[in-house]
């Protein structure tokens, strides 16, 4: 009887922790995409906030740093996945999107990297940089980790 009680309490505790982990502590943007930041305002954002930032709709962090977008982006399948998940566009569509925004003078161009390692170096170099990685195997410093709160009731950053 004691064994059953102990099992139930362990099960309830694990379930509770899992629930808390999902709702409060946040998680990655998706199973393949991870968001990181260097000296940005918060450690957690909603998906809509992240999409808005990565579309160049935020120019300055509250801490005074300029928003610098760093992306591992080229012509491969990972970039195709990123383009679809974040921008709902093709690779060509994302390039065209940024081209228009930069030439209109309303936003600065992102820093495009060919690999996750290169993107991580760029992220470390610039304060205010926010990076988006696909299938990242590299060790990411704890200071750079950004978690995603999958709650639509979260207060908007804007």
């Amino acid at each position: 009887m004691q064994y059953i009680k102990s099992s139930i309490s362990v099960f309830v505790t694990v379930a509770f922790l899992l629930l808390i982990n999902n709702s409060c502590f946040g998680q990655n943007y998706s199973s393949r995409i991870r968001i990181c930041g260097n000296s940005i305002d918060e450690k957690s954002y909603t998906i809509s906030d992240i999409k808005s930032i990565l579309k160049g709709e935020k120019s300055l962090w509250k801490n005074g740093n300029r928003v610098i977008i760093v992306m591992r982006f080229n012509e491969d399948e990972k970039s195709q996945y990123l383009a679809k998940e974040i921008y709902n566009k093709s690779i060509q569509g994302v390039k065209k999107f940024w081209l228009g925004l930069v030439f209109s003078g309303r936003s600065s161009a992102p820093l495009f990297a060919d690999s996750n390692e290169e993107a991580l170096l760029m992220l470390a170099k610039y304060e205010g940089a926010i990076g988006v990685f696909v299938d990242c195997q590299e060790e990411i410093p704890a200071d750079f980790k950004v978690s995603i709160i999958k709650s639509e009731n979260e207060k908007s950053i804007r």
Partner: protein, 357 residues
């Protein structure tokens, strides 16, 4: 002989000036502290015109504007943007400075800008600038030749992507439409972006022109009769823009009401409306339609009486996001009073436009 040498010398100097600018801005050694970038864009086209009255074809290759686009950061809050172009018109090379402005992003998405900028009266002038690669059709709406103040020099407060509707505003005071600093022009513009790819905006522009003349910020083939009327006038512009660029459907509508008032002939009400509708097929192919109407009243002393309509069909093919080709067939019609005999004609244009990024 001396005149020829002088002319050639001037042309060479214009090239050298731009070459020097390119060299300075692209030199990372000289400007290692800032994040400076040089980009470029341009176009080239072939035109075929058929004039009904003379029943003859005019064929011409044309080199469009070749522009350099320079951006640079000056710390977290300050940045510079410049745009310079070389164009070939009437056998001469023209160097132009389109934009040179310093921007201070003082808080959040709010900025102050000082310098020469594109006047954000409508979507087209605020988004496309001189880059033909972004133009949905081969050329600007007719209003740009008569009503729109393309550039202005002064100071602007700008906000963008504010709130859930992505509200944006531009408030500026600049030199007048004729470049007169003693009678500053004012502009208030706002827009919202309620969905991805959609922007709805409106603006009001006022300029008192002490002496009407052709010295203006248009410089895009204006047909104004400034030389005929040299008096003063009040000039107001009201614009409404609707733009929706989805993955498949593309719509752009630009409505302009240009109101001028003179002591002699009173208030003149002039209008124009440009409509573009395109449909993307697999992102690369975009067939489109356009309709552009412009009407200027008899008592308008800035432009004179104009009644011009342009219908067109076209096709855009995107080789890459940095290179596209447009083929456009259009028919211009004008009222019988129109003094220019070339006004009634058909035009076919093949345009190659590109960006160097």
């Amino acid at each position: 002989m001396i005149k020829t040498i002088l002319t050639n010398y001037k042309k060479i100097m214009k090239f050298n000036y731009l070459f020097l600018l390119t060299l300075i801005y692209s030199s990372t050694g000289l400007l290692a502290q800032g994040n400076f970038n040089v980009k470029g864009f341009g176009s080239m086209e072939h035109n075929l015109e058929y004039h009904q009255d003379v029943e003859e074809f005019d064929l011409a290759w044309q080199l469009g504007e070749q522009s350099l686009f320079v951006t640079g950061d000056m710390g977290n809050k300050f940045s510079f943007l410049g745009e310079f172009s070389l164009g070939y018109r009437g056998g001469d090379i023209h160097a132009n400075l389109h934009r040179a402005r310093i921007k201070c992003n003082y808080v959040g998405n709010h900025s102050l800008m000082i310098g020469q900028m594109h006047t954000p009266v409508n979507y087209w002038n605020d988004v496309y600038y001189h880059a033909r690669i972004f133009f949905p059709t081969t050329d600007r709406p007719l209003a740009f030749s008569y009503f729109i103040p393309v550039h202005s020099i002064g100071i602007r407060a700008q906000g963008q992507n504010l709130g859930k509707l992505n509200f944006g505003y531009d408030i500026q005071t600049t030199n007048s439409l004729t470049g007169d600093g003693n009678n500053p022009a004012v502009l208030g513009a706002f827009h919202i972006k309620p969905a991805d790819g959609m922007r709805i905006g409106a603006s009001y522009y006022y300029s008192y022109i002490a002496q009407n003349n052709t010295m203006q910020h248009m410089n895009h083939g204006s047909g104004m009769m400034g030389s005929m009327y040299a008096g003063s006038l009040d000039y107001q512009l009201i614009n409404f823009s609707f733009a929706r660029f989805e993955q498949k459907l593309e719509i752009l509508n630009e409505f302009t009401a240009a109101l001028s008032r003179t002591d002699s002939l009173g208030a003149a009400q002039n209008y124009s409306n440009y409509l573009y509708v395109g449909y993307n097929i697999k992102e690369l192919h975009t067939p489109y339609l356009l309709c552009d109407i412009l009407k200027s009243s008899n008592n308008d002393l800035r432009n004179g009486a104009i009644n011009k309509v342009k219908f067109g069909i076209g096709y855009k093919y995107q080789f890459t996001p940095l290179l596209n080709m447009k083929c456009q067939l259009e028919r211009y019609t004008a009222n019988p009073d129109w003094s220019n005999p070339a006004a009634n004609h058909y035009e076919f244009t093949i345009q190659l436009s590109y960006a160097i990024y």
